[in-house]
Amino acid sequence: MNAELLYSITGVGLFAIGLLGVVLASHIMRKVLALNVMGVGIFMLLIALAKRSESAVDPVPHAMVLTGIVIAAAGTALALNLMVRLHKMSGSKQEEPSG
């Protein structure tokens, strides 16, 4: 087992953990965080991908990760904004993480 494989397996593991979180978590905040964990898992797989051959690093997965991070940050920001607006509207209903 080489380093690339270890990172890849960790990546898909994080993806699965995040997916589990999205499915099972009951509070919306946890779901948003779990989505981010899923994203990080994919990014990790991509970064491991970049170093498959010994000689050189493939820059394309790195670029994909950079693009993906910005998109993930944007999506998270929009989700959080919607949550804050809902929270303002509905008061205490959001407070209790019932999970």
């Binding site: 919306i28 994909m64 693009t67 999506g75 929009l78 919607l82 509905s90």
Partner: protein
């Protein structure tokens, strides 16, 4: 301009809406927005018409490529059009034009228009970019543009229900995109390229491709809202502003469907199996039955229409089992794909018309309750007419686009020996008639409504434009019923070629 080629116009299709969005964001004056945006929509429509005409004129129906930065795949990103994507682009251009005119009136004196227009154009640029994209990762970015802007547009309404629906829609969209991104990572790992054509060339029936196909299918089914993953759709589509509801049902779900069809039939067709296509068909059938039932039970007009979208998407999924069986290997050609293409076009026009007329009825009645529609035909006959025409198309009665689409589906399922899908199609038609005639019979009810506090106001110019936009869409739906050949000709010869 002898060397003018349809592929040269592809970047413009993406950049024009982007420029429109930037202008909409910077220009702050509410009063000029509407006119500028109508102008831009007309320009975009003309460019799209030109692209379509050039594409058809070339006559080869080969897929055309545009290499951004002249790098070419796999290093750069290529834009690709074939018959199917040209058809989707043409549909986008037509609906954008009508819906932009509608929105310009709808948002004429509304402070929200400052937020609406940039999001609207970003959504359209995302749609155009998706339909011309030939690169797996680029498609991911386009899906995110569409998903985020659509969710933001739903949230425009700022009611509690709309915000909840938007949040759910956003998270579902993000989850679906992440599934897709995982598949892209796997595809890049095993193929070493992101270009769809090159992936297709080296695709096999191996484990990586199969897993990628499963992930893509799951992720996109979430975004398309196939039963039982439809739970987010009715609320999102029903709570959005009317023009947004129309474009969500008509184009946004179709965008994900387009990607799924592309992967299923062109890129990873090696990994699809007969069993999987039957599962998709069964889910589609379940969507038809369940969606019709929920539509029948709906008390809100827009919720009813949204459930009808769930139903109609179910029909399109019959494409998967039917085309699989017809030619023994899945490719996007033959009568099943024609039926699906026709269904996409017919549903887009009819559903947009229906949402617009429903929005007009809600505006004039002041309430979205189905019960409020009692006797509405005397008060607002034109919009009821539009609703009825669109309904006729959705049920599949002649003469309408929906009739042709269902006819194609029926003949295909009989020809391919899978008669059970024909039963589903017929049952679905009856169920659709059930919930739509419920509305119409209410509307034609002569009994005056007891609590009828709705006083008739003189029809303003704005409401006439709103009605006219809906009417135009309804007439297009009818016209499509008479000109079936036109649509089929755009998509048909190309479909055989582009299927790799």
């Amino acid at each position: 301009m002898s060397n003018l080629n349809s592929s040269l116009l592809l970047p413009i299709l993406v950049f024009l809406p982007l420029i429109a969005a930037l202008m909409g964001f910077v220009i702050s004056r509410n009063t000029v927005q509407g006119r500028i945006n109508i102008g831009l929509a007309i320009v975009q429509f003309l460019i799209i018409v030109l692209t379509t005409v050039l594409f058809l004129d070339e006559g080869s129906y080969q897929s055309e490529r545009y290499e951004i930065g002249t790098w070419g795949a796999p290093l750069g990103i290529d834009l690709v059009v074939d018959g199917f994507s040209i058809l989707m682009i043409a549909l986008t251009g037509l609906l954008t034009l009508i819906l932009t005119i509608y929105s310009a009136v709808y948002y004429a004196n509304d402070a929200k228009s400052l937020r609406f227009w940039p999001l609207w154009w970003l959504l359209i640029s995302g749609l155009n970019a998706l339909f011309v994209s030939g690169d797996a990762f680029n498609i991911y970015v386009c899906l995110e543009i569409i998903g985020l802007s659509a969710a933001a547009l739903v949230a425009l309404q700022s009611t509690r229900e709309a915000l909840e629906a938007a949040l759910r829609y956003l998270l579902v969209g993000l989850l679906g995109s992440l599934f897709y991104l995982m598949a892209v990572a796997i595809l890049y790992r095993s193929h070493g390229t992101l270009d769809l054509t090159q992936i297709a060339a080296s695709a096999s029936n191996g484990l990586p491709d199969q897993i990628a196909m499963i992930l893509i299918t799951l992720g996109l089914l979430l975004k398309i809202a196939l039963f039982p993953l439809h739970f987010w759709l009715p609320q999102a589509h029903a709570n959005a502003p009317t023009p947004v509801s129309a474009i969500l049902s008509a184009l946004v779900v179709k965008a994900s469907l387009y990607v799924l069809i592309k992967f299923w039939f062109e890129v990873l067709s090696e990994s699809t199996t007969f069993g999987a296509s039957q599962v998709l068909g069964c889910l589609g059938a379940a969507a038809i039955i369940y969606g019709s039932w929920k539509a029948y039970r709906a008390t809100q007009l827009k919720v009813l229409i949204a459930y009808s979208t769930v139903t109609q998407l179910g029909y399109i999924f019959l494409l998967f089992p039917l085309s699989e069986h017809a030619i023994n290997s899945s490719s996007f050609s033959g009568s099943a794909s024609q039926a699906a293409i026709y269904f996409i076009v017919a549903h887009a026009c009819a559903k947009a018309a229906m949402f617009l007329s429903a929005g007009n009825l809600i505006l004039s009645q002041g309430s979205g309750e189905v019960a409020q529609l009692k006797g509405v035909v005397t008060r607002d006959p034109l919009n009821v007419l539009v609703f009825a025409i669109a309904g006729v198309s959705l049920i599949g009665l002649p003469p309408s686009a929906g009739f042709i689409a269902k006819w194609l589906l029926l003949t295909t399922s009989i020809e391919s020996g899978q008669w059970w899908w024909a039963v589903i199609v017929l049952t679905g038609g009856l169920l659709a008639a059930m919930y739509l005639f419920k509305i119409l019979s209410l509307a034609f009810d002569n009994e005056p409504l007891d609590s009828c506090a709705v006083q008739r106001e003189p029809r303003a110019l704005s409401s006439r434009v709103l009605t006219a936009a809906a009417l135009v869409l309804a007439l297009i739906t009818l016209a499509l019923g008479f000109n079936a050949e036109f649509i089929l000709n755009i998509s048909n010869p190309s479909a055989g070629v582009s299927a790799i």
